[in-house]
């Protein structure tokens, strides 16, 4: 059994974000990055399958040199092998471009299962997993809260609106994009971190994956026009005081406005 886990490295939740000169992305210099939180749950799910039996866990990440840190962390947590897709040509790819790269990696690896997060903390697009599954020609499920082996695949419980769950059965090979909070993500132990040093990490370019000229800004159907901080509006009311006071006032407000 082989599991491919797709990891994105995103700015740390506490990082200070400033908009770059072009106004189309944030300044990445000097800020701290971490593994996209949704992807950590996917990785944990993969490691649990590995712990329960025979499975090889391969992690893949696209990005500049800094993403090797995310891959090393994943190796420290217990993944077996890492693939770093690094190519300036991929910069400016839209979600479809990223899905193409990941699908190309999946084609080379032919995993039985692809696990990834439902979306990324920075982009919030939720588009890559279904696109990737489509390109691979495998069944997929998103927002998965629980995946249990069933027959020749997985029975997945998907989170719908209003607390409802949808149950879908996927036959292997398949792709599962997980919702956050479906497990308790482990830490890398010190021994794990040391062992990670010796685990293999391959670097691949767009060309290696047969995608030269297909991905990157040139091939993108969507482009970021502009990013900006929301303009400060008027009329916000800040309720101050102890937790009890704040709650009492807030409930009062909600009732006053007839929202309940």
């Amino acid at each position: 059994m082989k599991i491919l886990v797709c990891l994105k490295q995103v700015p740390h939740q506490d990082a200070r974000l400033d908009i770059d000169g072009a106004g189309t992305w944030i300044k990445e210099d000097g800020i701290k990055f971490e593994i996209n939180s949704y992807d950590t749950f996917a990785l944990e799910e993969a490691l649990r399958i590995k712990d329960a039996g025979e499975a090889e866990v391969v992690v893949v990440s696209i990005g500049p040199d800094r993403v090797t840190q995310a891959l090393r962390t994943a190796l420290g947590m217990g993944a077996d092998r890492a693939i770093h897709v690094k190519d300036a040509e991929i910069d400016g790819s839209d979600t479809l471009g990223i899905a193409k790269v990941l699908a190309a990696v999946a084609k080379e690896e032919s995993p039985d299962l692809v696990l990834m997060g439902l979306m990324s903390d920075d982009g919030n697009a939720s588009a890559v997993p279904p696109m990737m599954a489509e390109l691979m020609g495998v069944p997929s499920a998103t927002a998965v809260m629980k995946a249990t082996p069933e027959g020749d695949g997985y029975r997945c419980e998907r989170e719908l609106e209003g607390g409802a769950l949808e149950v879908v059965d996927l036959a292997k090979p398949c792709l599962i994009a997980v919702q956050s909070g479906l497990n308790q993500v482990r830490y890398a132990s010190l021994k794990g971190i040391m062992a990670a040093k010796k685990k293999p990490m391959d670097t691949k370019s767009a060309g290696d994956l047969g995608l030269s000229g297909v991905v990157g800004a040139a091939g993108a159907k969507a482009q970021i026009e502009k990013i900006y901080a929301p303009v400060r509006g008027e009329g916000a009311e800040i309720i101050e005081g102890s937790t009890d006071e704040v709650v009492t006032q807030l409930v009062g407000k909600i009732k006053e406005l007839g929202l309940l």
Binding site: L190, K191, K197
Partner: protein
């Protein structure tokens, strides 16, 4: 020259940060105010194998060096737990150094694996009331009895003695007057803190109150010969080569606390509006914080250089002492400036800066006072006449 940290050190730092995340300022405030040892925090690190970072692999540890331990403790001290958090781990990580370097094979096999796993807690018993920094004047005495020893005396400032099963105890086995040199005649023991022979009293103190420091009264405490660390009469010298790494780690910790204080102050100075502008727009607030930022960066490089020297077997004494001196001064100044930035709220517990400030004060005194560090540098690096 390459200042980059590489993947292993960066991973150590990141994982330490992640492990610290659930333990926020409120957790540490509670532990500090209640004088409660932070067991949940300690166990989180013990479970992932961090306590054994310096213990050789053959005895269940990771066998890494000072740079790695410094990276860990630096990250831990930069968390909400500041010195409380660092001290919680520090002693377990560092304290057994003399056993690692000088202990008998049997002693190592018996005590290092439980140290690495975090089960065995050891207090450090060197300082005495009447001796102070002049260790040659300690009076705790171990007399020979049969195959072993019996110890009487009193130690002070023994950190974590409330939790510890054992104490690394320095005692005279020959009176000072009878020795060729004042620092001869002392022996290091890994003694049991046997409640029948030992009384432990917590010392009320300024800060770092989640981790206790104590007076330890020792009355007819039996210690077996197997628990002698290294050679009888050479105890002080066995401690010596642990002093440099300890100073390096204290420096790494101090830098972490200082950085936390400066970051908190900068965040506050951006949001706090007085006289219609963020207080951070006033150079009287901004410049001191910028000074601290650069002082801490300098100290950060210094402890790393000292660690590199120690780990590669180069002479590390001057660098370790300089790092400890610069880092502890920079850290306290940073906390003081941060406290000033918070104005009246800096004085309030709610904002936690006063806790960092109380804790950062410690490294200027312990494990060695900055006066003694300066005397060391003056004498051993500048070649000036010894002052004491």
């Amino acid at each position: 020259m390459d200042f980059s940290w590489g993947s292993e050190l960066t991973s150590i730092r990141r994982e330490a940060e992640r492990l610290c995340e659930p333990f926020d300022d409120d957790y540490w405030s509670r532990c500090d105010e209640a004088h409660e040892f932070p067991w949940a925090f300690y166990r989180a690190f013990a479970e992932q194998g961090w306590i054994g970072i310096l213990v050789p692999e053959a005895y269940g540890g990771a066998g890494l060096g000072t740079l790695h331990a410094g990276a860990l403790l630096n990250a831990v001290a930069a968390s909400a737990g500041a010195q409380n958090a660092a001290s919680t781990l520090h002693l377990s990580i560092f304290g057994m150094g003399p056993v690692i370097h000088h202990g008998s094979e049997e002693l190592k096999r018996r005590t290092l694996p439980p140290t690495a796993s975090g089960e065995l807690h050891v207090s450090f018993g060197v300082t005495e009331d009447d001796a102070g920094t002049d260790t040659s004047r300690i009076r705790t005495f171990a007399r020979r009895e049969g195959d072993g020893f019996v110890v009487n005396g009193k130690k002070v400032w023994n950190t974590k003695a409330q939790q510890a099963q054992k104490i690394l105890l320095l005692a005279r086995t020959t009176l000072r007057e009878e020795c060729a040199r004042p620092l001869d005649g002392m022996t290091l023991f890994l003694a049991n803190l046997d409640p029948d022979h030992v009384e432990i009293r917590e010392i009320p103190k300024l800060g770092r109150n989640a981790v206790n420091s104590n007076e330890v009264y020792i009355d007819e405490l039996p210690v077996s010969a197997a628990d002698v660390v290294g050679e009888v009469g050479r105890g002080f010298y066995h401690l010596l080569d642990g002093l440099n790494p300890e100073r390096i780690m204290i420096a790494a910790e101090a830098v972490g606390i200082g950085r936390r204080a400066v970051d908190a102050a900068a965040r506050y100075a951006k949001g706090r509006i007085v006289f219609d502008r963020p207080i951070g727009q006033n150079q009287a607030i901004a410049h001191p914080l910028a000074d601290s930022l650069s002082e801490l960066e300098a100290a950060d490089l210094l402890w790393q250089k000292a660690a590199w020297a120690y780990d590669s077997g180069e002479p590390a004494g001057p660098l370790a002492n300089m790092a400890k001196l610069r880092a502890s001064e920079a850290a306290f100044t940073a906390c003081d400036r941060a406290l000033q930035t918070f104005g009246g709220f800096g004085y309030a517990r709610e904002f936690h800066v006063e806790r960092y400030w109380r804790e950062a004060r410690l490294a200027r005194i312990a494990p060695i006072s900055n006066e003694m560090v300066r005397s060391y540098l003056a004498e051993h690096v500048l070649g000036l006449p010894r002052s004491h």
